[in-house]
């Protein structure tokens, strides 16, 4: 391999990590919900899209500067996720899995069509606080946008980790996910923890949406592909492991990009999934997952 080829490979890895960090955020959101409520939330991507539109509205219709707009959006996302769990998911908590799947698919189509109704289907550009441009180091050209995406995603992940590991509330959320009966017995309000989990997941989704929008343009179907890759990442890493979701998401991004560059752009999604299938045949629980235990 020549030096030029190596550099171009490294280039692909970096843009793969940038895309992958978005998948990782959304995968993390899926895993948080799956762990605590056993629900696979097909509406996760649409919640992210919807909240990104909120950010867009604040930024372009009302001229709110980026940082306050982002903060307001995350707050809105939290309340939206919290409310969705409380109002829509809680009543079907004990329903068969398939019913819950249908409910989240219903949410998917509701958020999708409401977004289309409010904002239309014409793709819109999404502003970033980062100037267009690239920086060069060690012969590599890296887009500032990619750095912004990767950096922001990492910061959010570290914050989430600190929250879950080092605060009592975060510990209580983990405890609730692992053993609901015991959580109730020590006095943790289990229902509130589940709502909180959905709120946090919606926040992660909103971050993913706002980071993805400048690249893939804002429109009601923008997250469909991203959600698919996020699912792939979550399953690859192991649905039960937040760490696995991050690694899985990043891997999917890198694999997708490398295959696109080395083989054919048209085939990259198909090939990426082929690789994921191959991993799952060998390790059905995912790379970092453990065999499922049923909750009592």
């Amino acid at each position: 391999m020549t030096e030029g080829q190596l550099l171009s490979l490294a280039q692909q890895v970096i843009s793969g990590l940038s895309a992958g960090s978005i998948y990782a955020l959304l995968a993390l959101a899926l895993v948080l919900i799956y762990q605590s409520t056993d629900v696979v939330n097909f509406a996760q991507g649409e919640l992210a899209m919807f909240t990104t539109f909120i950010a867009y509205t604040l930024l372009t219709w009302y001229g709110v500067p980026f940082v306050p707009a982002a903060v307001l959006t995350l707050g809105f996302a939290f309340i939206l996720g919290y409310a969705v769990e409380r109002v829509v998911i809680r009543p079907v908590e004990d329903a068969p899995v398939l019913s819950v799947v249908i409910v989240t698919l219903g949410l998917y189509s509701i958020f999708n069509s409401v977004a289309g109704w409010i904002w239309g289907y014409v793709p819109k550009g999404f502003p970033t606080p980062i100037p267009a441009g690239t920086i060069r180091f060690a012969g590599l050209t890296v887009g500032l946008l990619d750095l912004w995406i990767l950096g922001s995603a990492l910061v959010i992940m570290v914050l989430l980790h600190l929250f879950l590991r080092h605060t009592t509330l975060g510990t209580a959320m983990r405890a609730t996910a692992h053993n609901r009966t015991a959580a109730r017995l020590v006095g943790i309000p289990v229902g509130r923890m589940l709502s909180l989990g959905w709120g946090l997941s919606a926040v992660l989704g909103a971050v993913a949406g706002m980071l993805a929008a400048p690249k893939i343009f804002l429109e009601p179907n923008m997250m469909a592909g991203v959600l698919l890759y996020a699912f792939a990442g979550a399953v690859l890493g192991g649905l039960g492991s937040p760490f696995g979701a991050i690694v899985g998401g990043l891997l999917v991004g890198v694999i997708e990009n490398l295959l696109g560059a080395l083989v054919a752009t048209e085939l990259k999604a198909g090939l990426a999934f082929l690789m994921i299938l191959a991993v799952l045949v060998v390790r059905p629980q995912g790379l970092f997952g453990t065999a499922r235990r049923r909750k009592v």
Partner: protein, 234 residues
């Protein structure tokens, strides 16, 4: 301190308790005896709020608690060490204990109580950073009790604390139960080892198919022909 008045409870269509009345005086150890499926665990689940009774009432320190959620009941001072220990396996020993104090409002006293639990069960201090799921059965039982004590309960509900433990470990657990009781915590004990339970308890109730069939001072029940034959095996 705790009074159950004609409590009935059911799992779906299966009737588990039929008009159970019992009383736990402050400062005492009361044992609940009975065969599997007699309703011992169900009784504890009703008291701690995990299961709503279909009929009857539960009073704790004069206050009716049978319509309250578990978190409110913990806050009133009732801690339940459930059947099968139910520690948070994926959390560390330290995290398990801290969560035991979750419902408390007096956060300042938590470190002192943690010290007290470590003093009762020194092995938990050594394993503080270890995941609870990696502990032995006896250590998990100690952790489950320690976690319940972190709520500073005035009434401790213990469900089969010696189940599946080696005799030596079971003895240690019972020594601690005695000590916790001596330091002022009232105990309601469900136990399959009736002879041991009758040694620790002052009063005992015998449940059969969801009804109290016999109750009285532990010393008397030890002499009772039926109890001896059914539960003590001599």
């Amino acid at each position: 301190m705790l009074r159950l008045e004609r409590v009935s409870a059911a799992y779906g269509r299966i009737q588990a308790l039929r008009g159970v009345s019992l009383e736990v005086p402050a400062g005492s150890v009361v044992a609940l005896l009975g065969a599997n499926g007699a309703g011992k665990t169900t009784t504890l689940r009703v008291i701690s709020g995990l299961l709503r009774p279909t009929d009857g009432a539960v009073f704790f320190e004069g206050r009716r608690i049978d319509r309250l959620p578990p978190e409110a009941i913990v806050r009133l001072g009732v801690a339940h060490v459930p059947e099968g220990r139910q520690v948070f396996a994926d959390l560390t020993v330290g995290e398990n204990l801290i969560l035991g104090a979750y419902a408390r409002r007096d956060r300042r006293n938590v470190p002192a109580d943690l010290e007290r639990v470590f003093e009762l069960f020194p092995v938990l201090r050594e394993r503080r950073k270890q995941l609870a799921g990696t502990l032995s059965g006896g250590e998990q039982q100690m952790l489950a009790i320690g976690r319940a004590l972190m709520a500073r309960p005035r009434l401790l509900l213990l469900d089969e604390p010696s189940l599946g433990l080696a005799p030596m470990v079971a003895r240690e657990i019972f020594r601690t139960v005695r000590r916790v009781n001596a330091e002022g915590t009232t105990v309601l004990l469900v136990e399959q080892d009736a002879s041991r339970a009758l040694q620790v308890a002052q009063t005992a109730y015998v449940l059969q198919t969801g009804q109290v069939v016999l109750w009285g001072p532990a010393a008397e029940l030890r002499q009772n022909e039926a109890v001896r034959r059914s539960y003590l095996g001599y």
